[in-house]
Structure formats: C-alpha cells, structure tokens
Symmetry: C2
Subunit: 109 residues, 2 copies
DNA sequence: AATGTTTATCGTAATATTGCAATATTAAAA
DNA sequence: TTTTAATATTGCAATATTACGATAAACATT
C-alpha cells in the first residue's frame, strides 16, 4: 500500500501527524525560520535563500499554506508570505501539551 | 527525484525535520500516546491497541527507535518499549525554542 | 499592446513511505 | 527437544513525496 490509514486513528492523532508533516522537511523548516527571522512578510526572495529551484520552493510554500501555517498576500506582482500567528500559537500549544504529558516516575527501561 | 537535499540545509534544520518526521504519522503518534498513558513500559500489546498488522507496527516502532524517541528492553520473550525521557526532553526544548521564536509585532498580513 | 518579472501549475522521473503476507528469529514453556 | 508465543525481517505492491524543466498566469512597466 502506502496510503496512511488515517480513518483508524483519532482526529487529534491525525492533527498532530499533519502538523508534524509540515515541519518534516528541512526546506520547510528553513522557510519558516526565514519568515521568523525577517520579522516581516517576505515575498519571493525565499527562493533566493533556499538551495532549491523556484517550482520546488513554490510547492513547499503550498504545503505550508495548506497546513494553515503561513498565508500569502498579493502585493503588486509579488506575493508576500507570512506566518499565521494564530495557527502558530495553536500548534505551539498542541505540541507543548503532547510533550508535557510525560510521566517522570520511571517504572523501567 | 524524491530524495531530500538534506546536505544543503543546516544541521539544526535537518534535526527538526527528522524529529518532526517521527511524529508525522498517526500510528506513531498513537504509539507514543499509548506509552505516555500507560506510564510504564509496555510490550507487544501496542499491536493490539493499533488497527494495523503486527509487521506494520513493528516497522513504526523501529522508526521511533531509530529517531531515539523510544528504546526497547528484552523482557523474557517479549520486548518492553518505553519513551527515552532524555531525548523526549531534548526534543521538547527544540520545538519549544522554535515555536517561541515568533515575533509578535506584526508588520503585515 | 508588447515585454519583463514574479509566482503557480503541469508533467514526469526518482525516491521514500506505508502496509501486509510470509517467514525468520528468539526465548519461554511444555 | 519440540512446541508455543512474541517480535523482527524480507519481499513486494500501492501510494506519497521531492525535485525540476517547461509552461502558464498575473501583474507592472514600457
């Protein structure tokens, strides 16, 4: 096969997996770090920052957009991408909650 | 192609992507949530908990193990898996740092 | 209107991931 | 030692992801 059986898992589990998938490629991490760094919406110079061809970057941007993490505004003939702070905060909480669910009293291993 | 050009990105970016990839499948999230919940190292009943065949679960366990997130101890003829708290804590910090790097002063979008 | 710039989409190739049946391995139990 | 139970590995099919050249679409500029 190869198709994930997402219908057999909880909504929450699928949500976490989907967000994680958006972060699961160094190019997308690089895009997000760039957007975090420049502290302003930056357009197509993301392409110049990355060691990838323009269509590839466009594809990664699309995935981040589909995940809701970034949004794009038309600005002249360029497009201005930036992080959606609301979604970013939501995702931060989801991961924080997951990571904090650990129980410190070891029983074995 | 299809092969990630990981050599063109920073170590940190690749690290984040690798950790995220481990969380990027609902089955693996389900395994981790189960291990978090039972608060003890649980062995092969992970297979019974998941809607997947034994070899598939074994494969997901292997990926989590390769990512360093869990470790397996032989316990009789069963194997006891549990979360590596040190790695868990390290990963928690990595994501916390990433998520907190956001700058609240919006400039556009 | 013609041209240039920027970004998206299409088509396609290479590779990776997911899933499972069959089988191997390992160690306990009989 | 044979059997049984638990887990891993192999082999393979289906699907997804990554990457990019070619091209299209959108818009500004000339």
């Amino acid at each position: 096969m190869g198709a994930t059986k997402s219908d057999h898992f909880t909504q929450k589990q699928n949500d976490i997996a989907t967000i994680a998938k958006a972060f699961a490629h160094p190019a997308r991490v690089a895009i997000l770090e760039y957007l975090l760094k420049v502290d302003a919406c930056i357009c197509g110079d993301i392409v110049n920052e990355l060691p990838l061809a323009q269509p590839t970057v466009s594809q990664h941007l699309k995935e981040l957009k589909n995940a809701g993490i970034i949004s794009g505004n038309i600005e002249g003939n360029a497009i201005c991408y930036c992080i959606d702070e609301k979604v970013w905060e939501k995702n931060r909480k989801i991961f924080e909650t997951l990571f904090e669910r650990i129980n410190k009293k070891k029983t074995c291993c």
